[in-house]
């Protein structure tokens, strides 16, 4: 696509949409939202970028290697947090009883591992959405 209006508007919109996605992820445990919704929003912005500026530029923003790392990294983070609970409290995914900091109810830093998990899920969903889109749209490299 070579339309200058679309390109400029996309450039303006994307940071705001990504900020909104990050806001939703970080506020997941104090207001409606969470990792899935926020991750999907950030994922759609990346898809929009790829659609407007082409596959090559999109690849630069979010490379294959990066998506692979965040792909397994999301689950890895989840399991490691669960294992910490297993070691400290004797049960997989122990939250506050596993020794995670409690924080102040209603603040961003609260809820033990919930914000960390939400960030992990957000990264995972983002990378999944963009890599699925890339897989579907990729030209056959023969």
């Amino acid at each position: 696509m070579n339309d200058i209006i679309i390109k400029n508007i996309t450039r303006i919109i994307i940071p705001f949409a990504q900020m909104y996605g990050i806001f939703i992820i970080l506020n997941g445990h104090i207001s409606p939202g969470g990792g899935f919704a926020g991750g999907a929003i950030i994922g759609t912005t990346l898809i929009l970028y790829t659609l407007v500026f082409g596959r090559e530029k999109g690849k630069k923003k979010f490379s294959h290697k990066m998506s692979e790392i965040s792909e397994s990294g999301g689950i890895m983070l989840f399991v490691i947090i669960g294992m910490i609970g297993m070691i400290t409290a004797g049960a997989f995914l122990s939250n506050l009883s596993g020794g995670f900091p409690q924080g102040q109810l209603g603040e961003i830093l609260s809820g033990g591992f919930i914000p960390i998990l939400m960030i992990g899920i957000g990264i995972k969903v983002t990378s999944t959405m963009i890599s699925l889109f890339n897989l579907l749209i990729d030209e056959e490299k023969l």
Binding site: I30, S31, P32, G34, F36, L105, L132, L136
Partner: protein
Amino acid sequence: MNIIERILENINYIGAVALFLIGLRIVVLHSNLIKRIMGINIMGTGVFLFFVAIGNVSGGVVPIVGANPEGSTFVNPLPSVFILTGIVVVVSITVYSLSLVIRIYQNYNTIDQKELAELISEDNNEH
């Protein structure tokens, strides 16, 4: 009329069942493969609507502690949790079946179930 009142009371459940069955009809009877995947999505939303309707409490508020006035009743949070999981699962299945559709189109040059069946039976007869 009594019956209309009852329908109005249970409209969400009836809608959920209707959507489930419409989705099922599209999946089973429609011949276009992409439409069938959409049917799966419609079926899914039907089930999720059923779950949400179970969790709803009229006059209730969203279960966020501290954001609501004292004494207000919370809606049931558990169905929402189930659906959040369910939505993502249905998306994964959708994407996987879409990838299969791309491959089927590349191999048979059609995404219509009836034409596909003919092509496959021709293939089998050749061997």
